[in-house]
């Protein structure tokens, strides 16, 4: 099966957080704006963004000073729209 790159891979937005030790990436093509991540964030670091998601609802963007890259948002996102990559640990 030949697969083209899905549409949601384009326009990913990456933000350096946790004093540059990690990268927070949101895929607006996957985010439906449910807000579950925003409620679960222990640092209250996520806020609504002006960038709109796949259903035309606001996506989220992190406050780089508050975000500790704990990955709770990544875990609770039902759409896998958030990826957090820590730079200190070489990950796949």
């Amino acid at each position: 099966m030949v697969q083209k790159d899905p549409e949601y891979l384009k326009k990913a937005i990456s933000v350096d957080v946790h004093t540059g030790k990690a990268t927070f990436t949101i895929f607006p093509g996957l985010c439906k704006g449910c807000g579950l991540c925003r409620e679960k964030c222990p640092e209250r670091a996520l806020d609504w963004s002006h960038k709109l998601g796949v259903y035309g609802t606001p996506t989220v963007s992190p406050n780089p000073e508050l975000c500790k890259a704990c990955r709770i948002c990544e875990q609770v996102c039902p759409d896998c729209a958030i990826t957090i990559r820590r730079k200190d640990k070489e990950e796949e």
Partner: protein, 252 residues
């Protein structure tokens, strides 16, 4: 950014071409299927799994995984998966249904599969309403809960009590069965339960049944904060989370 391209952290067994999936914003199905996908990846059984989905919101998972999938008649997921398992015992069959499919129209099959101790895994997602048809009262609607057809709250004198599935299955299941109730609010625990259920099937011990408490912000008419409150604090009062039957005893 010049670094290596960052990709969404989807489980490898997910079908990336069908994403974003068709579930509503905030729907718990995505989390249950994420846990299931991670378990399939960890056990490395993608080429042996047959996934069956029911009618209802759960049918929207028909193209969710890159595994063989059957979409069955309403409530008949359990017997279809039992049939596939009996025809080819090497396969790992997972019946995926909602509370309407498992406890209303399909309860006879759930009861009989549990009684026969069929070696399949059934995952039932409980969100207390019939979500696809607009949020009517379901067998799992809690006493006093407002739905489309119970605008003053469910009256147990009129509508009876909600179904406690894992308790019922644990009461009739035989030795070797695995029965548990998880919640999407406790993602790691839910994943452990699903993993144990599939390992129980792979070991050929017996019927494995998981109920997952899930969310429906669309029909509950809740925002994110109240959605979490409902699934974390209100639902477990009526639907206690934990293991109900473990092969050899030692429930959590």
């Amino acid at each position: 950014m010049e670094t290596k391209e960052i990709l969404p952290k989807m489980p490898k067994s997910w079908n990336p071409a069908s994403k974003p999936h068709k579930f509503c914003p905030g729907c718990g199905h995505g989390l249950v299927l994420k846990a299931l996908g991670q378990v399939i990846d960890e056990l490395n059984i993608q080429d042996r799994v047959v996934f069956g989905c029911d009618i209802g919101c759960s049918l929207l998972s028909w193209d969710f995984f890159n595994v063989d999938t059957v979409q069955t008649h309403h409530g008949r997921t359990t017997p279809v998966m039992v049939g596939i398992k009996r025809a080819n015992p090497d396969l790992i069959t997972i019946a995926y249904m909602g509370d309407g499919g498992g406890y209303a129209i399909g309860s006879q099959h759930l009861v009989n599969a549990a009684n026969r101790n069929d070696i399949i895994t059934a995952i039932l997602v409980n969100n207390t309403v019939y979500a696809m048809t607009g949020g009517q009262m379901a067998p799992t609607t809690m006493p006093g809960q407002k739905t489309e057809t119970t605008p003053y709250g469910r009256d147990i004198k009129e509508a009876g009590y909600p179904m406690l599935g894992p308790e019922m299955v644990a009461a009739i299941a035989h030795e070797g069965a695995y029965v548990a109730r998880g919640s999407i609010a406790k993602f790691r625990q839910l994943k452990t339960f699903i993993k144990k259920a599939i390992e129980n099937q792979m070991a050929g011990r017996g019927f494995s049944f998981i109920e997952a408490l899930s969310t429906c912000p669309t029909n509950w008419r809740t925002n994110a904060e109240k959605t979490w409150d409902f699934v974390e604090n209100i639902m477990p009062k009526y639907f206690p989370i934990g293991e109900y039957k473990v092969p050899g005893g030692k429930e959590e």
